[in-house]
């Protein structure tokens, strides 16, 4: 399945990455090259095969529902680009 410039722009928007106009055509080439190479997977008969989503043969562990960590806002905020009064300061989200 070949992709075009419009698809690259759409995917870049989904991924929240601003790709400049001069990168769009090269990306169309690069991504198509990779997707074409991946096409060979169609040769494999996978009828009735269960997808392998985890190589770990274990069930998810449960634990006591108690608080064992957290409560230190200063440490959480220590790398914030902008913070005040124990909050992250971010651009307006809701118009």
């Amino acid at each position: 399945m070949a992709i075009d410039a419009a698809t690259v722009r759409k995917v870049a928007r989904l991924a929240r990455i601003a790709e400049p106009e001069e990168r769009i055509e090269p990306l169309v080439q690069e991504l198509n090259g990779i997707l074409q190479w991946i096409e060979q997977l169609a040769e494999v008969d996978t009828d009735g095969v269960e997808p392998l989503t985890s190589v770990v043969h274990a069930t998810l562990a449960l634990r006591e529902d108690v608080v064992t960590d957290g409560g230190d806002a200063a440490r959480v905020l220590s790398n914030a680009p902008s913070s005040t009064d124990g909050f992250y300061v971010v651009p307006k989200v809701v118009e």
């Binding site: 399945m1 991504l31 997977l41 997808p51 440490r75 959480v76 790398n79 971010v90 651009p91």
Partner: protein, 507 residues
């Protein structure tokens, strides 16, 4: 500058500073325990080596003050008889591991000057056993690469040079290029690394060092910057098979903070090195003989087969029919998982925050400026294959092929106990040589990605040199949780190969 031991009888004699860096981890631990030299002394020797080796660009952050503090504390514990398994040993830490209070960047601009408020479980284990941190090691950005050419801190240069290469700068491999180069150049006694598609084993092969990716779930991923969560595993790069076993024993262990961490005991792995391989069945998978494989690598593989046969193992030809589909399956699964894991880098809570007119613009500009080209390419592929209408055709299909690959190994284990293959399809290549086509770079991992997809333990052991004098590695693959057998076979290969070559110092 030398240091005289109490007596010449125990064989130490005059130990020069520069000789302290030539020691294996095992020999250094013995010397520290017997108080032949102190941790401060051996740490100082390594700090000097690290400084002198800046042309290699293996370290992105040197932490000499912290190292000497940790070394002094180690010496105190040795004196009071409280020495841990790695007490006083100076190590390098791949900059993908969050180290508390010490900048951690994943070698990306997007993390800016991120200083973690927590320690990764793996490094906590190592430091808890008394190891000393020399600094953070260079890697491909977010562990995406096979040549350490995508780092925001620039390329790492392989300490090895080819006799037929016209003095060209070579890649140490990737993504753990800094870790492999540092160990090969005797800048540290060992290093941490991670492997998602071959990023421990391939650089180990390119630098004449030992690198093991353990069974998925053996080491905790908590505190390691995530690339592809179903594939990532931490592991050591070291000078010898025994050293790697010592490091892995310390790094591994169940961690309740990582739900994919296996709740199993870690055996003491060093005793498996040196165990006889008599009677073990070694599988040779015919599909690993690929078109265009250099004759030298074919020959080395045959040497490995002969050595194990001489050591008493039984050689069995096996078939892993879906081998060739592992790379394309990986290049759907890994980017897909990466697109999810890297969504958190949005400029809001840490790292780089770019300018923009509104929230969306800030997200898009931050990620455009903060991520390198290879990372962006993989996020875009991942986003595409997971998007509506394409999920079944790509991601689901890849996971089904992944099941087939895992089943191939299960079938092979019916007739053999371990597998022997080459680690990489070539020796170290020149920097810049394989950048034109992404797929040419991806092909470096053709022999390694299979075990990430199947979650199996696999090690690279230096086994010979190519015609230009560059190291070549052999890979041993084992059953899930059977690192013991992997180390026994690796030890037998190491003994038979007698690989003593070291990179000639040009820096």
């Amino acid at each position: 500058m030398g240091r005289r031991n109490k007596s010449d009888d125990d064989g130490w004699g005059m130990l020069l500073m520069s000789e302290l860096t030539k020691l294996t981890l095992k020999a250094a631990l013995d010397g520290l325990r017997s108080k032949t030299f102190s941790s401060v002394e051996i740490t100082r020797a390594h700090i000097a080596a690290v400084e002198a080796a800046r042309p290699l660009n293996a370290f992105v952050l040197e932490t000499p003050e912290k190292a000497l503090e940790m070394a002094a504390a180690a010496d105190a514990r040795i004196a009071s008889g409280d020495a841990g398994a790695l007490e006083g040993a100076p190590l390098g830490i791949k900059d993908l591991f969050c180290t508390k209070g010490v900048r951690s960047t994943a070698c990306s601009k997007i993390l800016g000057n991120f200083i973690p408020e927590y320690e990764s479980t793996v490094t906590a284990n190592l430091f808890g056993d008394g190891a000393v941190m020399l600094g953070k090691l260079n890697l491909d950005e977010f562990a995406m690469g096979s040549s350490n050419e995508t780092s925001a801190f620039g390329n790492v240069i392989n300490p090895w040079k080819s006799a037929s290469g016209g003095n060209k700068a070579l890649t140490p491999g990737g993504s753990s290029g800094g870790s492999a180069a540092a160990v090969a150049a005797d800048l540290c006694l060992g290093a941490t690394a991670t492997d998602t598609g071959g990023s421990i084993r391939q650089p180990a092969a390119f630098t004449g060092t030992v690198g093991i990716k353990p069974t998925y779930g053996r080491c905790s991923r908590w505190g390691i910057v995530a690339f592809a969560s179903s594939l990532d595993q931490a592991g050591p790069i070291a000078k010898t098979v025994e050293d790697a076993a010592i490091l892995l024993t310390s790094m591994a262990g169940h961690d309740p903070k990582d739900s994919t961490s296996l709740d199993v005991e870690t055996p003491d792995l060093a005793p498996f090195v040196g165990k006889s391989v008599k009677g073990l069945r070694i599988g040779v998978p015919k599909e690993y003989r690929v078109d265009g494989m250099p004759a030298e690598i074919e020959k080395l593989w045959q040497d490995g087969i002969d050595w194990l046969k001489e050591a008493g193992a039984e050689i069995v030809e096996v078939s892993l029919p879906h081998t060739k589909y592992a790379l394309p399956a990986y290049y759907i699964v890994a980017p897909a998982e990466a697109s999810s894991n890297l969504a958190r880098y949005d400029g809001m809570r840490y790292g780089l925050r770019a300018e923009g007119g509104n929230l969306t613009e800030i997200y898009e500009n931050t990620r455009a400026q903060g991520f390198g080209q290879e990372v962006k390419r993989r996020i875009l592929i991942g986003t595409y294959v997971l998007s509506a209408g394409y999920y079944d055709a790509y991601y689901l299909k890849a996971q089904k092929v992944r099941r087939r690959i895992a089943d191939d190994f299960d079938k092979a284990w019916e007739t053999c106990d371990a597998l022997l293959t080459p680690t990489a399809p070539s020796a170290a290549f020149a920097l810049g040589e394989r950048n034109a086509d992404p797929i040419a770079m991806y092909l470096n991992d053709v022999f390694t990605v299979t075990t990430n997809l199947a979650g199996l333990p696999s090690i690279s052991v230096p086994a010979g040199l190519d015609s230009g004098g560059l190291p070549l590695g052999l890979q041993v693959i084992g059953r899930a949780l059977d690192e013991g057998t992997v180390f026994s076979v690796a030890g037998a290969l190491e003994k038979a190969a007698g690989f003593r070559a070291k990179a000639e110092r040009w820096w």
